[in-house]
């Protein structure tokens, strides 16, 4: 590749390359997707600022850009529409939104992520005492790995829940404790949500 490589550099390269697993952690991916889809799109002003921040030019170039941007900002503020701003991203609406609308920030609800592995499932929904076991209240979104995920705001305390697979089959969460008091013998699990 390059002439600066040698035994030591090869060893460093091999060690660093092998330091991270080659498979993405589904929980980390789910967290990222939840954050991306839940976060409000940046304001037009923020996008305009980011447009200057994203490409890193040389230090001199950055200074020149900053001065021009500052000057342009003073001149154009309130006068010119910001045509450089990209339109907000279209959302098809055909894909289930994985994050239940954020709770009132003043409440003590805690965002809680649920993950369920079901590569063959066509749909998975989270049902529990917090949503009156309504199948449509919290659909999970499928990641390419076959892992399904959703994040919901839950009040602190003990909650009983299950996953409704393909609209027909209730399954307990294999990662969680089974509920001892499952009604009518239906499989369910328990999540303890700590207070803030």
């Amino acid at each position: 590749m390059t002439d600066e490589r040698d035994v030591v550099i090869e060893a460093v390269r091999g060690t660093l390359r092998a330091s991270v697993a080659d498979e993405a952690d589904p929980r980390a991916v789910a967290r990222i997707l939840s954050a991306a889809w839940a976060a409000p799109a940046p304001s037009r002003w923020r996008r305009w600022l980011d447009a200057w921040h994203l490409p890193v030019v040389s230090r001199v170039g950055a200074a020149v850009v900053a001065v021009i941007a500052l000057a342009a900002g003073f001149v154009a503020r309130g006068v010119l529409p910001n045509r450089a701003v990209a339109e907000p991203m279209a959302v098809t609406g055909e894909f289930p939104v994985p994050v239940v609308p954020a709770s009132d920030p003043r409440s003590s609800a805690v965002s809680t992520q649920f993950v369920f592995e079901a590569p063959a499932a066509q749909s998975v929904a989270l049902v529990g005492d917090f949503n009156a076991w309504v199948p449509t209240a919290a659909p999970l979104v499928r990641l390419p790995s076959g892992v399904w995920t959703v994040t919901v705001p839950l009040m602190p305390g003990r909650h009983v829940y299950a996953f409704l697979v393909d609209g027909a089959r209730l399954e307990a969460d294999p990662r969680a404790s089974a509920a001892a008091d499952a009604d009518y013998g239906r499989p369910s699990s328990v999540v303890m949500v700590p207070g803030r």
């Binding site: 993405a24 980390a28 991916v29 994203l54 991203m89």
Partner: protein
């Protein structure tokens, strides 16, 4: 031993589909790019918590700025450009707070076995931590992520000749310091 791939495995239509609003395509992009992104961030900032934060922040920004992604562009250099900036922000923030950089949190959970043992990894991170950020960044992008110099130039905005010099200096330091470690181990 397997490790996150360096050559782009990304179907060029994926970012375009994500740009068009296809959330499945975006999910696939995250899943494909996460290992390399985490690896780069880990070696840049030196601890897993900050690295994960930088990676998450990067993908959130990518999602909200997909409209700016050029249809004829390569996704990974664009991603690394944003990620490198996030890592620099993390490092700047840390410097402002005068916190001590602790290398040694890596390798992360679930990492494959390290060929030369944890001490070797620790030594590498000690030396990496002594490199100026721009040299560390250039070295990692070139030798670990195996981006072409032209792509690194697009990522960092630095001229090719300056980049080559940064990589060379980083290699010189690593070679000198780590050769001593290896000699001492024998």
């Amino acid at each position: 031993m397997s490790s996150p791939p360096t050559s782009s495995p990304i179907d060029p239509s994926l970012p375009l589909r994500a740009k068009g609003g296809d959330r499945q395509a975006f999910a696939q992009l995250v899943e494909l790019c996460y290992p390399r992104s985490l690896r780069f961030a880990l070696h840049m900032v030196g601890n897993r918590e900050d690295a994960e934060e930088a990676v998450q922040d990067t993908f959130v920004r990518v999602y909200h700025h997909l409209g700016r992604f050029r249809d004829d562009g390569r996704f990974e250099p664009w991603l690394f450009r944003i990620l490198a900036n996030r890592c620099r922000t993390v490092l700047d923030k840390r410097r402002r707070h005068a916190e001590v950089i602790q290398y040694g949190d890596v390798p992360d959970r679930g990492a494959p076995t390290v060929v030369d043992g944890p001490d070797w990894m620790e030594e590498i991170h000690k030396v990496l931590a002594t490199l100026p950020v721009e040299q560390r960044e250039a070295f990692l992008l070139r030798h670990v992520e195996e981006l072409a110099y032209e792509e690194i130039s697009a990522v960092t905005g630095v001229r090719l000749s300056a980049l080559r010099m940064r990589v060379k200096r980083a290699c010189d330091v690593l070679r000198m310091r780590l050769a001593e470690v290896r000699r001492d181990d024998r």
